[in-house]
Symmetry: C2
Subunit: 508 residues, 2 copies
Amino acid sequence: MEKKKRTAVTPTRKENFPEWYQEVVRLSDLADSSPVRGCMVIKPHGYALWENMQRALDDMFKATGHVNAYFPLLIPLSFFEKEAKHVEGFAKECAVVTHHRLVQQPDGKMKPDGELEEPYVIRPTSETIIGHSYAKWVQSYRDLPILINQWANVIRWEMRPRIFLRTAEFLWQEGHTVHATAEEAREETLRMLDVYTDFAENWMALPVIKGRKTEDEKFPGAVETYTLEAMMQDGKALQGCTSHFLGQNFAKSSEIKFLDKNGEQQYAWTTSWGATTRFIGAIIMAHGDDDGLVLPPKLAPHQIALCPIYKTAEEKEQVLSACKELHKKLSLLSYAGRPVRCRLDDRDMRGGEKIWDHIKKGTPLRVEIGPRDLESSSVMLGRRDDEDHGKIKLTFDELTSRACDYLEEIHNNMFEKALRFTKNQIRKIDSLEEFEKFFTKSSKNQTLGFAYVHWHEDSIGHPLLEKLKVTPRCIPMEEGSLTGTFESGSCIFTGKPSQKRVIFAKSY
Amino acid sequence: MEKKKRTAVTPTRKENFPEWYQEVVRLSDLADSSPVRGCMVIKPHGYALWENMQRALDDMFKATGHVNAYFPLLIPLSFFEKEAKHVEGFAKECAVVTHHRLVQQPDGKMKPDGELEEPYVIRPTSETIIGHSYAKWVQSYRDLPILINQWANVIRWEMRPRIFLRTAEFLWQEGHTVHATAEEAREETLRMLDVYTDFAENWMALPVIKGRKTEDEKFPGAVETYTLEAMMQDGKALQGCTSHFLGQNFAKSSEIKFLDKNGEQQYAWTTSWGATTRFIGAIIMAHGDDDGLVLPPKLAPHQIALCPIYKTAEEKEQVLSACKELHKKLSLLSYAGRPVRCRLDDRDMRGGEKIWDHIKKGTPLRVEIGPRDLESSSVMLGRRDDEDHGKIKLTFDELTSRACDYLEEIHNNMFEKALRFTKNQIRKIDSLEEFEKFFTKSSKNQTLGFAYVHWHEDSIGHPLLEKLKVTPRCIPMEEGSLTGTFESGSCIFTGKPSQKRVIFAKSY
């Protein structure tokens, strides 16, 4: 019998994926629960990761002509009601502000006072409040396009919250654009989906399937919703971000009109697109292993952890001085367009404990330097993508000249590994029986995956989907290594003709 | 009779300062009103300014050892009540969330539903909610200090809102730190006041008086509050930011305790410090002129506006091509540690209109290039700190080699000008009569200022202050060009001994 390997995280992914997830969040110090129902505290390690994600996305948004702005947190209830499907979609998860002060009761307790004439909803998304400003700002075709993004917090009351994945409050960016034609708005919708794809693949090392949502999975009020779907290590899908072509729906409800070149009044065409702190959950579940977090090098708060090892005060002085020298050199390097983020970890704790701390936190490169290494001007290097935590002996010069190559190699390895896994777990399925079997676990250890099946939109609401808790994730847009070559067939639910296969999965 | 100069802003500062302010905000495209009571929309130009302020402050916070994190927007009412003075101070301006969903009424309208067992307050500041996490995170002296900052939105319900100065929702950063000793916490409080001073003077070009708040002007729950006070062009004071030594008040109400080196349980010592979008109001009112905004070069969204002037298509091609070349060269320059932000403004509008747009928006340097300039490879340069909008002829090479020097000169001129103004409007006053006269306008055009008077804390609540709507702004901490040499005297309100003079003013 194989001896069970000791792991830093208990349980392992195989043993209990949801508990493994919670434990990785805790051990890697990314986030904490809070006393506010469904809300999380993003701890410094998690927030630094988010800051790096923000910076990369923000640079991409600006490179595609967008600017940032900020709109109110609160939305008057009457605004929110203007788009019927929109309010219907969000009504069940709105935090509502009804009072504007507190007064002290005779028993000393405070209670809400100063009831508002019209309640406010804390934004779950900002189409309606931003639409109000756009209606003022847009008068003529010369005012178009408007290409604005907002970094903000939003609240969607969650009954079954899970840290990073479903939290009542989360952080995100929401782009809101206005265009003179449907064609231009559709182009923008797809351009931003490409920006997100670039970010997912090249920054998060995450393979994604680009696709369109089916009618039942669209954003409330959208004409078309596009999405990136990624596979987590339990075979479930995570929707990475969405980009919506809103047609004239919100322009009509917010009265965004303009005089076109012929002097005629027209309703504008709008889009919106967003990515959230949920992406942090995707990084954890796509890349993490049984020893903790594995961070994509371009986004890791620290890409290199320099860990001095010493016992005596004299050793400490010598080792620290060498570390400082190396820290200086490594920090002068540049990777992914920014200075390399190297941490000299001189915390007063045992060497082994410190190394394991960085393993759990997912730092891509760990460098150990002890008194004996100094004699040969060398270090021991550990790579986080090596699950056995092997060490490579390198001279100081080799370390500085190769560090960025290692980071790039780790990025590529992580992407390739996730791609192989995803590919392995996508199954072409051509019958209802097979479909049901695929999504019914025969053993606890069975990993799920994506079913790739022929489909017709009349199958929306099929009882088997409800029973299995499986949904159509997206209608793929491009042929590729995950989606193969498109071919026509017959819907497994209705027998009706299908032009191409669609991804079905259980999802987060 | 002198002919009245035409100005881009009507009314002028002298004619009506508050209306001039609103008009500058509008003409410079910084912000807009919103349909949410007291809340503003920060437009792209205003938000880009805020982003530059954030970046500079954030770099300074990180350089002093702080990291960012994020805590919930909502605070359970019971948490908020824990510190008595704190809740008393904020009770009248709290937005309260009482419901977590909406339901449709028979008439089709939505109304709040799902009443919460305990209401939540939208954070007006986060001491109590962050304190809860800190109580969990701090166990031993080894966990200290905690040096965390948060970038966030807050709500304080405002009955008389003014854009950027008093808005119900505003953006800010709030630092919250925990220390093992009072001394260390006090050091942190003053360190951050120095960081803010550095930022005000060296980034905003704003002279400030560093001081301590009197007892009646302290932050609710603080032991000591420190502040930066700056003079606006109407002689009123604007509190730039604050840094609070909270003693053990919040540690006790949140139970932040630690085992010290001797194994004894101790309450920790905390601080908090914040700067807000109000700083944008300070920039407008300290530097703006009758033609609009004047932006400090280090924070301006664009430091240089390149404006091509042309009539024919052929001219357009030639002029634009020269502009592109110049844009490339200017963008390679570095100022204040970042690449120069140069905008090639090729909007299709009349040359004069475009130039005035940049004057109103406060762009430090405007560069005009027309067909005739091309012949001599030269440009016409306008500096925003020149109120007459004169133009300087420069060759392309002169422009690129001198651009950063001009930016630095503008920064220095702006600082010196504001310093001279402030100095001129600070008056040492030694009697109640003089004090009353100083703060009572004899003519509409009279500019107010700071009264610098001897003072004893028993004068808090003196009826004359209430009558004049004047408050003690701060007890200065350092002798200097604005505060002179400290000297003792007698309080003008009570006749009691006074160790040094204190700044009194009307304020924003």
